[in-house]
Symmetry: C2
């Protein structure tokens, strides 16, 4: 308990604390002390530590006994430094009392300004300042704030009286009220307090100070603060500090001012002093927007003479010095608050400034180039997720919008287009050059062409990792999923969004970053990747240990991923290649065939198409590894839904409708996720595996003729036993040998397996006897380990999140305790049997920074993610390496 | 390689082997040696070891170089002992050559008799025996067998010639052919051999012997043998031995005979000499059924003078002595083959006799009571699964039957009844006192009342652990599931079974032990449990460490289980209680309600019903633990399928049809197994958990007034995190405290969880901090660990079994390597945190003997299984304890 030291002074003359004491003094207190200690002009004050807050709640809302005297001592010190007197009408000292927690909790807790005023002191202040209007305005503001915060008198009641006063005085603005008006208002305010609280407004400034301190501590447990802490995972045990500081006034005349500033531009990151100020005003006036503030710099004002640089050149110069000093001192862009009282600059706050993703990158790279931080620090400064904003078009924040409904922010970016309710129409309209948003209850693999054609996708069901979400992210299409208030009446072509009724053809805009859906067209901004971005990624690549691959199977996705720096394909989902109109019929023919011969005929039609697919991918990923997963989904996913389509298929397969229908029905499953899929297909229909192995090897041979040979990594999905791998590997190796012999060309290839079932992880030593690589399929591994179908989780995951059952959505970030334990077991067991086994991750988690950090601790060889997440993964992997080695 | 000793002699004079050398000599060879060594009359011979078979296949089908001389030496020994000469017309020695593997492989491999005959020797034999018919009959049989087995000449070709010969001779039976007829036949047979094989029939007896030995070794790799080994899990590496033995003849006149016998009655187990014999016949005649054999004992023949006891009293006496000697020696009922040649008894085989389950129990108990074996040995003698036959009605094996189709033997017992296609009709017709078989594509919880009303259940889809199978076993109803050839046309009321078309109302019979479905009514036998059964169970109970509970929720099931010896309920599935007509409406009302208030109203209607259910169970299980699982299945399982029903529900819930339909639709899930179920229901709808906790505690209070208080064990299903248990336990404890306070009655209860998700097992230490017991829900744990939906596994599990991916169906017997590893982890981690944590298993595996054995090694406290499996589990648990302690 720090030798019973509960209070830390700060100010130009004496400073007990510094910036490193954030835990004890809170962010604001620590920074005030730090600024004072490096010689910046900070009004003197003191901080009551967070330990007092803890003591207060541990001891039935009482204070440590030493506290009172320590506060009085500090108060005396302030009086001495300011030459003012607290609780004295002659030269009165007024105080501000503010909360200040370890982590920033903006607006969550309470503040009292102008404390120390009473009926007597206000008169003295009027006299000492020579400005009665200022004195009574300060008093009425104090009564209002103190009564609201400490005495719990409703804030609005004061506003009502203020409104009445303005009407009586026949004025519009508070500032137009005279000193006498305000004096009268003070009387009314005090009456209101007595009426509401049953007691007179406290006239003893010492009583006021303890009232305010108590209110700050109490505010730590108010509902807003509790909710904010829960949402931001701030432990209740941290507590808040209380900062008591001499008031300075920016509203004592035209040689006074107040303002807020960023040391660099928080939107673009460019190196310019960015901020606003108001002459003769109090800080809250800038924030409240009652008067329009002016820019700080001449450049920003366009030289109209209103900037601080022009109006108060000397103080501005002083402030600009402070800016430089703070940036070098804190090694980061700062967010400042200042007040000028009679041409004297006072710093009231500094903290790390919030900024856009673009600014974040620019500032970090600039700071590193300026030698203020290291490259590693620059890398660590960027929240990888935030890069998403840079890669996708975003809504123009200034455009007018009408919000219809909200869903989940499933795939970033924004898009506008006509409402379309089915994939075929989406494709048809898009082919006419019109933009469409595809609306579905949920999407299935059959919608792929429509999703590809659409500018964006909106679904009523499904979570962050639903089919729609995964595929949209893979394609880089904006997507809002699981919009519960969306109802679709396909027959009638009508759509209900909340209370609005729309029809197909109506224009809507979706924002995949926020999950919002707007009526009509909302303007978007298409981002350009900056030089700073390129520099940062270069630095990150130099640091990271893990490779970054991509999950891709289309030419477009593969190309995008390669441009974003993907170092190979970690997951090519071959099934996605079968949904094109010219292929689906052959695919269905194979499924309906129901005999090995029938299937072989259909497969022979698919072979050249598959080979062509692989040739394209191998060319783009020339010389890089390409992991190809054998056919994975249950066959019924490919089946037609209409009788017409079924008739086509029956004809192609040479069976009657009855047989085709019976076969289709027999394929229906209760739990397709756990059904006849993955390598189970290869075991029951080895000819499918054979065809795919042949297509891969023939494509590899073909590409080797012209460019660097690809490294096919053939992946067996959903294996749970070594025997399954043995059977599939035998087929693959046999076909591979045959192709290599027939073409007289050797191809280096690997055969491995996806580890996506708990049993595969448990028996990883067995599997590693045959598998040359493991790729952790964490989507399915999460589903099976936790027993949660991601498609169905929407109905309870929100309750689960609120009940804090899973700290983060386990489909977004790996459940390290559960799923992570299996990954660790599998990695250890796999390496024990095959020390050089290649390990990677290809689930959605491969693009999630937290999960990537976990992968680094597991020493995986690579992560694989959707194309648009490749830069995020590169940065996250670099951060993970730095973290592990630091 | 046993000092290069490849051949072991046996016979009255010298015996190299004994019964302990089964692995080296095969079962037959070892037992022949053993019989000879204890002084029983065994014709001399020798065994070529299984190691020669291994050598043969390891060395490109060649023999060890020492083999030839060792065989010749043994042959000489036989000649000396028999005073006969091999390959010599004067007093010729004939040989039998038979296979004999380590494990019995009946009919799987080849046998040659009468080896050593040729044109010259046969003439000598005719002379020495004074019976040309005998000699030529022996020769033609030899040619036929040898040509079939060694020369691969089709057996049927010989039969054709034989038929022609009988027609020419104008006789019906082989035995009516004269010596001359047979002599002629031999000529024709030899011509056939030359014609088919391109070579004359080998006249050199030494060539013959090596031909026959080679054929036996080759037969180890024939298709029948390979298939048999696969089905019975016999490793190919075991190999077969070859037994060469002097022939003895039971067909040399009326002082000769041959027969087979069991030392006790293999059907009933009663202590009587049971067998048949034929005078003047060869062994194969008894088996082939060409002549009707007579019983051995006077008692069995009814004293008609034809029994061996009457006809050959002296030899019979000798045989009866052998019988006693063998039983005491082998300590088990034996299956014997013997031949009497000119009043001399020869023993040709002894082995443990196959028997019915009933006989098995009686014999084991009798042998123990006779002091031949110990009680523990008696317990170990019984295959627990076999008890199933004793507990359910079975088809009369003698009744005529017409097989329609086959499915899986899902629930034992047999039943006949009218075909009914839906549950309601099943109930209605059953209420009229008529027997029905309920046919469904697959069953759902809504069919329960129909399944209960039905005499048996037949489904087209679903495996051994499908809903139909599990529920039927639980109810003790016979069930055949997954009958792939069954097609149901519900609209037309027609049913297709293979090529047969039937209609509702037609009578069929199902056999749940074999999975067969028969046309019409087939007579059944209702078993009576014997005194021996009761004795055996008493002995087993004295040995076993684990308790045996039952999975039951109806009064009937609970009562049956209690009668079968269940020591509590291990799993009461509360959801099954909600399907009765008077409850389902309230249940649906709750589901449709969509607000906490609406749900509470509906739940208040369900409370008294649930309380009543629990009172009944607690009364039957008075003083015993009753584990009650909170509501588990996804709510949509309870929803109505017709508009009419939905309208009822909407009315009850006070909502319009549109709302009801929307709510119903929203509950549909892609993978219900991994959906909104288990404790996820309690987390989202805590009021359901509250109602159930209240019903349990109020029932416990009620029952405590009259009888021994029950020990409710409240089980939280599908938990994966400690937090879920914390939330549910808080509700349960709160309600329990309230009820106990309100009624002034203390009830000892436990709160625990089902461990049925991999994560629960991985985090068992966390869970055990709160859970007072774990019950392993191995059905779901298997589904999630292996990623296999048991309802959908039918489409590939057969291929999986054939490919030996899982050695046994993991839904029948615990996958020890995978799921077992999780159970072990969970048990260890759970006990680390809570050393006295109660551990049990309540999945279907709780009734599977292999799995029970695994549970014993895990030291679980109890197993729980369906009522009809309780005796099986009691026995299996006893065996497991004995095994682990031995």
């Amino acid at each position: 308990m720090s030798d019973n030291k509960w209070v830390y002074a700060f100010g130009p003359k004496n400073c007990d604390g510094d910036a490193s004491m954030r835990n004890l003094l809170g962010g604001k207190g620590a920074n005030l002390a730090e600024m004072a200690s490096i010689g910046l002009p900070v009004p003197p004050g003191f901080t009551i530590t967070t330990e007092v807050c803890t003591y207060y709640y541990d001891n039935n809302e009482t204070y440590p006994q030493e506290l009172k005297q320590q506060v009085l001592d500090c108060l005396k010190e302030i009086e001495q430094q300011t030459n003012l007197n607290f609780a004295n009408a002659a030269n009165p000292l007024l105080l501000s009392v503010r909360s200040g927690a370890r982590a920033s909790m903006p607006g969550m807790m309470d503040t009292v300004l102008n404390l120390g005023l009473n009926d007597e002191v206000v008169a003295g202040l009027a006299e000492s300042s020579g400005d009665p209007r200022f004195a009574y305005d300060s008093y009425r503001r104090f009564i209002q704030m103190y009564s609201d915060v400490v005495l719990e008198v409703d804030h609005d009641l004061f506003e009502d009286i203020l409104e009445d006063a303005k009407q009586s005085a026949n004025v519009e603005e508070d500032t137009e009220l005279t000193g006498d008006d305000l004096k009268q208002l003070v009387i009314q305010f005090k009456q209101l307090v007595e009426q509401e609280s049953g007691d007179v407004f406290p006239q003893d400034p010492h009583e006021q100070i303890w009232g305010a301190i108590g209110a700050v501590f109490k505010s730590w447990m108010n509902q807003r603060a509790i909710t904010y802490r829960r949402l931001n995972q701030i432990p209740v045990s941290w507590g808040t500090a209380v900062n008591v500081q001499a008031m300075v006034f920016g509203n004592l005349g035209d040689d006074c001012a107040t303002g807020v500033a960023f040391t660099r531009n928080p939107s673009t990151g460019s190196k310019e002093f960015f901020g606003e100020y108001l002459i003769n005003a109090q800080g809250e006036d800038v924030v409240a927007g009652i008067r329009t503030p002016f820019p700080l710099t001449k450049m920003s004002s366009g030289g109209n003479g209103r900037s601080m640089e022009e109006k108060m050149p000397k103080v501005y110069k002083q402030l600009d010095d402070v800016r430089r000093k703070l940036e070098i001192h804190y090694k980061d862009m700062q967010d400042l608050e200042f007040t000028v009282q009679k041409n004297t600059l006072y710093m009231l706050q500094t903290r790390s400034g919030k900024r856009t993703a673009e600014a974040s990158v620019t500032i970090a790279v600039d700071l590193a180039n300026e030698g203020i931080i290291t490259k590693k620090e620059a890398i660590n400064r960027i929240e990888p997720e935030s890069l998403d904003q840079l890669l996708h078009p975003t809504l123009d924040p200034n455009a007018p919008k009408q919000l219809l409904i909200r869903g989940l922010p499933a795939s970033p970016g924004a898009a506008s287009g006509e409402i379309v309710l089915d994939a075929d129409t989406a494709e048809a309209i898009a082919n006419q050059g019109r933009k469409v948003i595809l609306l579905r209850v949920e999407t299935s693999p059959e919608d792929i062409h429509g999703m590809h054609a659409a500018a964006g996708i909106l679904t009523a069901r499904g979570g962050m990792t639903s089919h729609a979400a995964v595929v949209a992210r893979g394609m880089g299409r904006p997507c809002v999923s699981g919009a519960g208030e969306l109802r679709i009446d396909i027959e009638a072509g009508r759509v209900f969004m909340g209370s609005e009724e729309l029809a197909k053809g109506d224009i809507i805009t979706i924002d995949g970053i926020t999950g919002q859906v707007f009526k009509g067209q909302v303007a978007t901004i298409k981002p350009q990747l900056s030089d700073a971005f390129a520099t940062l990624m270069k630095w990150a690549d130099a640091e990271r240990r893990m490779l970054v691959r991509t999950n891709a199977e289309t030419i477009e996705d593969t190309r995008v991923a390669r441009e974003f720096g993907a170092e190979g394909i970690g997951l090519c989902r071959t099934e996605h290649m079968f949904f094109d109109a010219d292929r689906i019929v052959s695919m269905r023919e194979m499924i309906i065939a129901d005999s090995k011969e029938g299937r072989s005929i259909a497969l022979s039609k698919l072979l050249p198409m598959q080979r062509g697919d692989f040739i394209s991918l191998f060319e783009i990923m020339s010389g890089l590894p390409v992991t190809i997963r054998l056919l994975d989904p249950p066959l019924h996913e490919f089946l037609p839904h209409t009788d017409e389509e079924l008739a086509d298929v029956a004809k192609a397969a040479g069976v009657d409708m009855e047989t085709a229908r019976a076969r289709a029905l027999r394929l229906a499953e209760s739990n397709p996720m756990l059904g006849h899929r993955g390598c189970r297909l290869a075991i029951t229909y080895p000819e499918i595996c054979e065809m795919q192995a042949r297509a891969i090897m023939e494509a590899a041979v073909e590409v080797s003729k012209k460019s660097a040979p690809p490294i096919p990594e053939i992946m067996i999905p959903l294996a749970a036993t070594a025997r399954e791998i043995e059977i599939c590997k035998e087929i693959i190796d046999r076909v591979a040998q045959q192709v290599m012999k027939d073409f007289g060309q050797k191809i280096d290839y690997l055969v491995g397996t996806m580890v996506e079932l708990p049993r595969a992880a448990l028996k990883a030593d067995d599997l590693a006897g045959l598998a040359e690589f493991f790729s952790f399929g964490t989507n399915d591994l999460t589903q099976t380990t936790l027993g949660i179908s991601r498609d169905d989780a929407g109905s309870f995951l929100r309750d689960y999140s609120e009940a804090e059952i899973y700290p983060v959505d386990p489909f977004i970030s790996i459940d390290v305790e559960g799923v992570g334990m299996l990954i660790e077991m599998a990695a250890q067991k796999g390496r024990k049997i095959r020390p050089n086994i290649k390990l990677g991750i290809c689930g959605e988690h491969g693009g999630d920074p937290r999960s990537i950090s976990f992968c680094e601790t597991m020493k995986l060889d690579y992560v694989s993610c959707s194309p648009f997440r490749v830069p995020i993964a590169r940065l996250a992997a670099a951060q993970a390496t730095i973290k592990l080695n630091s």
